[in-house]
């Protein structure tokens, strides 16, 4: 055996750098934002809390769509299915069975989790673009079933009268804590997930599914897990949203508008990045407040903007920003850094 010159040499002194200055700053801001959300009853009125709650739901749903389309390569236009069923589960548990509504919110998440399994098993047989339309059919099936089911009061919908037992302050505290939880779970959870080894596998899969599979990533299993996780995340957003609305009916519960806004937010903000979701949500939210009154023509502009992003700027706003400045807010990359003094 010939001697191997490098075998004796010590391993180069390297470290894996995973955090950046910008990332640390964001982390602090993120924790502060969560505290501010949880403390809303003490600094904001009921109107503000409702507005912030809506904003948090947008962020959550958009991030779930981002996880599906941006990382798992599963383009869905039917995530409203899981929002609706979780909302309905909450109403049935709290109103029909008298479960404490704040406990019911968490129990209701079991329904999207359980329903996501057969949905995925059916839909994953559909090829790329057909998968997307398939998810829409599933959402339509859920809507039509809810409209025909007298158990959930069919087309007339249900009201959450049990919330009357709580004072306005109690409800505000609950809503604020739920907002903080929603953001913690969807944004914090995604960040944690993307930094874990599953995240590494997910990013590998996004870049090239075949190559990732050859490196030992179980692509079908990972896709399945992401689909179920996104269903639960959307379910939580749905349950929180409809608890604040106090009313649910089939057209509102399974409103395709949620898919429209998730797609707009993620595509314009920048797909496959948490930063993009935050930027996109902010743009959508401000645009909605300013131009929402223009109705149809406002949506024409949103639609055309989505087309333009898909045609000319696939990375969205964050894609353009991160090309110029390497300062991620949520760093998920691993940098191999070699110590300067060891480079002799």
């Amino acid at each position: 055996m010939t001697s191997f010159p490098f075998a004796l040499a010590a391993l180069p002194a390297v470290i894996v750098r995973r955090q950046t200055t910008s990332g640390r700053i964001t982390l602090v801001l993120f924790v502060l934002a969560l505290v501010a959300l949880a403390a809303m009853p003490w600094w904001a009125g009921t109107g503000t809390i409702r507005m912030v709650l809506e904003l948090c739901c947008y962020i959550a749903v958009a991030q779930m769509w981002n996880l599906l389309a941006g990382y798992a390569g599963l383009v869905s236009v039917g995530q409203q299915a899981f929002m609706g069923v979780a909302g309905y589960a909450l109403f049935v548990l709290a109103q029909t069975f008298g479960v404490n509504p704040f406990l019911a919110i968490f129990l209701s998440l079991l329904v999207p989790a359980v329903l996501a399994v057969p949905c995925y098993l059916l839909l994953h047989r559909l090829d790329g673009p057909y998968f997307a339309i398939g998810t829409w059919v599933v959402a339509e099936v859920f809507r039509l079933v809810a409209s025909n089911l007298s158990f959930v009061n069919a087309g007339a919908g249900m009201s959450l009268n049990v919330m009357r037992d709580y004072s306005a302050m109690e409800r505000n505290i609950a809503m604020s804590l739920l907002c903080a939880l929603l953001i913690l779970v969807t944004i914090g959870g995604s960040f944690w997930f993307l930094r874990s080894r599953y995240g590494l596998a997910l990013i590998a899969m996004r870049d090239n599914p075949v190559a990732a599979a050859s490196q030992g990533v179980n692509v079908p299993r990972l896709r399945f897990l992401v689909y179920v996780a996104a269903a639960v995340g959307c379910g939580l957003a749905g349950a929180v949203y409809f608890m604040a609305q106090l009313r649910i009916n089939p057209p509102a519960a399974f409103d395709p508008m949620w898919s429209n806004l998730a797609i707009f937010i993620v595509m314009v903000g920048g797909i496959a990045s948490i930063e993009g979701v935050l930027i996109g949500t902010l743009i959508y939210f401000v645009a909605d407040r300013w131009f929402g009154a223009y109705g149809a023509s406002y949506f024409v502009v949103l639609g055309l903007m989505t087309v333009i992003v898909a045609l000319y700027a696939r990375g969205g706003i964050w894609g353009a920003v991160s090309r110029r400045w390497d300062a991620p807010w949520f760093p998920i990359r691993r940098h191999l850094v070699q110590y300067e003094e060891d480079r002799t």
């Binding site: 389309a69 390569g73 383009v75 236009v77 059916l122 839909l123 047989r125 559909l126 090829d127 790329g128 673009p129 057909y130 998968f131 997307a132 339309i133 398939g134 829409w136 059919v137 599933v138 339509e140 099936v141 039509l144 079933v145 409209s147 025909n148 395709p256 429209n260 797609i263 707009f264 595509m267 797909i271 109705g295 149809a296 023509s297 406002y298 949506f299 024409v300 502009v301 949103l302 639609g303 055309l304 903007m305 989505t306 087309v307 333009i308 992003v309 898909a310 045609l311 696939r314």
Partner: protein
């Protein structure tokens, strides 16, 4: 007898769905693209047809003569301006682009024509029917079915026999190999989309004669076309036609069971086919 009647009405309804499904099957077969604005294009063409008829007093035949070339032109433009830039292995860009287009078209139509339902005056043809025994068959649905059969047959012959059909099948099998043999895939794609949307021109006239159209109806038409293609089996023109029949019959029978169950019955059959025979009823395994 009631069920036999439902079966016949279902076949006639299937003739309408076949006209939506053909274009979708063609575009997916060639480019692996699903045009999310497929249904909205039908509605847009219908509304243009209704306005033409109202403005110039055109009859249904003249409206069709005006609409079909317009539809072909729209398809060609759609391909040139949008779809050619998003064709590729990744399904995301094409879905997002056509999704955005769908959102824009829907709201643009809402702006121009308002949310009201309208229909194309057919000068009596829409209410004529033939009586066989104690079953009434509408003349218009029979014409629709006849056109659906004719369009399916024509498209099938075009794909199998013509030079363009050979180029198209070559491009769908292997786009790089096809371009090496002198086929220009972009031109083939533009032609395919022009034909697909052109068929929607016929569908638009019949849809607005048969029932009413409103700007928000496009999503339904997209889903029916999609279900017909999947039930029938991807990659086959006659498969899409037969899938449309299955969908039409299921919906018609479902509507007889309970008016709220018709559309749902169609969705359920689609899911059952997906669970038991994902290649479609008439697709090659």
């Amino acid at each position: 007898m009631q069920w036999f009647d439902a079966l016949l009405q279902g076949i006639l309804l299937g003739g309408m769905y076949a006209q939506y499904a053909l274009g979708m099957a063609l575009m997916f077969g060639v480019m692996r693209i699903v045009n999310v604005s497929h249904g909205d294009l039908v509605i847009l063409l219908s509304l243009i047809g209704i306005s033409l008829s109202g403005q110039f007093g055109l009859g249904p035949v003249s409206v069709a003569v005006a609409l079909v070339p317009l539809a072909v032109l729209m398809g060609w433009l759609l391909q040139k301006t949008i779809l050619n830039r998003v064709v590729g292995d990744d399904p995301l860009p094409s879905l997002i682009a056509t999704f955005g287009l769908s959102l824009a078209l829907q709201n643009l139509m809402l702006q121009i024509w308002s949310a009201n339902s309208r229909s194309l005056p057919g000068h009596g043809i829409e209410s004529m029917s033939i009586q066989i025994g104690n079953i009434y068959l509408g003349v218009l649905p029979l014409i629709v079915l006849g056109f659906a059969v004719g369009l399916t047959w024509g498209l099938d012959v075009l794909l199998k026999r013509s030079r363009f059909g050979r180029a198209l099948r070559a491009a769908s099998a292997d786009v790089e190999a096809a371009s090496m043999t002198g086929i220009n895939p972009r031109a083939v794609y533009a032609m395919a989309t022009a034909i697909a949307v052109g068929i929607l021109g016929f569908a638009a006239v019949f849809q607005s004669l048969r029932s009413t159209v409103a700007p928000a109806d496009g999503a339904g038409q997209l889903i029916y076309a999609f279900e017909a293609v999947i039930i029938g089996g991807m990659g086959s023109i006659w498969g899409a036609f037969l899938g449309a029949m299955v969908l039409g019959i299921t919906q018609a029978i479902g509507f007889r069971i309970d008016p709220g169950f018709g559309v749902l019955a169609g969705h359920l059959v689609f899911l059952i086919v997906l669970a038991t025979r994902p290649q479609g009823l008439f697709g090659r395994a």
